[in-house]
């Protein structure tokens, strides 16, 4: 302890920023040029893109438009070939497709972007600029155009006569069927008018839950897709065309549908 007064702090007062060794050149940063005018973004833009990005597919065998969320003004659409969802975010004129990574980047900034600037004629070398309330700016390269045919799917089905999802009903289904399927099985869940069955093996239903469902006949879904839909849905409806069935669902600002699996005689 007697040496304590002799100990001098070994800290230099001259701080050197790592980039200053380059004469500060790397610190100067210019945003790419703006292409057009600033426009307001829809009010729930951030919620919309982060919600729909949950319903996108990943993997090289999926086309690019299944790995992106599509923004058509106020409506934001995402699909993974089994489920498709549309989020009504409000009023806006932005038309673009954002990859899931770009969505994560926008989310990481912390608050919702308020303004957007798009080039008048979108090409691959143009940038998409976002502006936040606090002045933050983000320029995304590779501006993609949204896939127009995704919008048309929603007008082909009737969006009426839905039945409301009871909290108790939802909790029972989620509680009974949130198991992990055995490897190479997708944990098929079959919904009958009076009961729901499923199991860890696709070819053997181990769990049966006697519960009333709004379907008219049996329909089969994969566990992962059905549960992700039932977690968000507040109203559902089953439709049948030939041997093909769909589960339509609605929630706050959200509507979408899920394709059922098809039974074939073996």
């Amino acid at each position: 302890m007697k040496h304590a007064p002799n100990i001098a702090p070994n800290v230099s007062r001259d701080f050197t920023l790592p980039l200053e060794v380059y004469g500060g050149e790397l610190l100067t940063f210019e945003l790419p040029d703006l292409g057009g005018e600033w426009q307001p973004l829809p009010e729930h833009f951030l919620e919309g893109i982060s919600f729909t990005s949950r319903f996108t597919a990943s993997g090289s065998h999926y086309p690019w438009w299944m790995q992106t969320v599509h923004v058509f003004g106020g409506s934001i659409i995402g699909t993974n070939n089994r489920a498709i969802v549309e989020y009504s975010a409000g009023e806006g004129e932005l038309e673009c497709a954002l990859s899931v990574k770009q969505v994560r980047l926008i989310k990481a900034i912390g608050s919702r972007p308020t303004q957007v600037n798009t080039p008048a004629r979108p090409t691959a070398d143009k940038y998409l600029h976002f502006k936040w309330q606090n002045g933050s700016r983000l320029a995304l390269s590779r501006l993609m155009r949204p896939e127009q045919r995704l919008r048309k799917l929603f007008s082909r089905v009737a969006w009426n006569e839905f039945s409301a999802v009871d909290e108790n009903w939802r909790a029972q289904i989620l509680g009974h069927f949130s198991f992990k399927p055995i490897k190479d099985n997708s944990g098929l869940i079959t919904i009958y008018p009076e009961r729901v069955t499923g199991g860890v093996f696709d070819n053997r239903a181990d769990i049966e839950l006697p519960i009333k469902t709004p379907t008219e006949r049996e329909v089969v879904f994969e566990q992962a897709h059905l549960l992700s839909v039932l977690k968000v849905a507040s109203e559902i409806k089953f439709i049948h065309e030939g041997d093909h069935s769909k589960l339509l669902f609605k929630a706050d600002n959200v509507r979408g549908f899920l394709a059922a699996r098809q039974r074939v005689p073996s």
């Binding site: 929603f154 007008s155 009426n160 699996r261 098809q262 074939v264 005689p265 073996s266």
Partner: protein, 207 residues
Amino acid sequence: MRTMPDGLFFHPNGSGAAAVLKRMAEGTTNYNLDDPFLPAMHETRQEISKLDAQIIRAEERLIRLRHEKARAENRLEEQNEAAAQFVETGEIDPALLPSVEPLAKEEAKEQREEIKKAEAEKFALPVELSESGWVDDPVRVTDTEIIVTIRKRRADTPVDAEEVEGRIAKVVENAMQPFRADASRYRVVLRERVAKRPQQPKGPPDD
């Protein structure tokens, strides 16, 4: 009953011609997603592109041959000029010297024949192989290698490809049945799809 993967836009197990044909042969065609005409049309398209490539190759070869002929004619002309030059000056132009390549090749051929004879004497088929029915062919010699081929007759009967083809063709034809029935919804949808007419909305218009 069996369940098969389904999708909104394409079949998760592949929407290519080979995948559709495989499902047709298995009897698991997805009538909502699979295009039953795709395998046949894909086959024809492949054939056309293959023939296109063959035509391009043949044309390239023809052009090469024409160029070669033109070069040979030029050479002949040069040689004629050199002969005329010889009459005037008495100098022999190198263009008039003949090519001795065939003679050199002859020598290589002779050497090869010698090696063939020597190797054929040296090579004896192992007893185990000759007992199980293997026979050897005459020795071949290339620039770098000496090749001995051994062969054996097949004892089993080969698959009758025609019979198998007939069997699968019947199954594939059966797979098209839902598109043939008069009252079939698939037939209606497929006709609309092939005609590329816009699909009629099934419900009230979108809000």
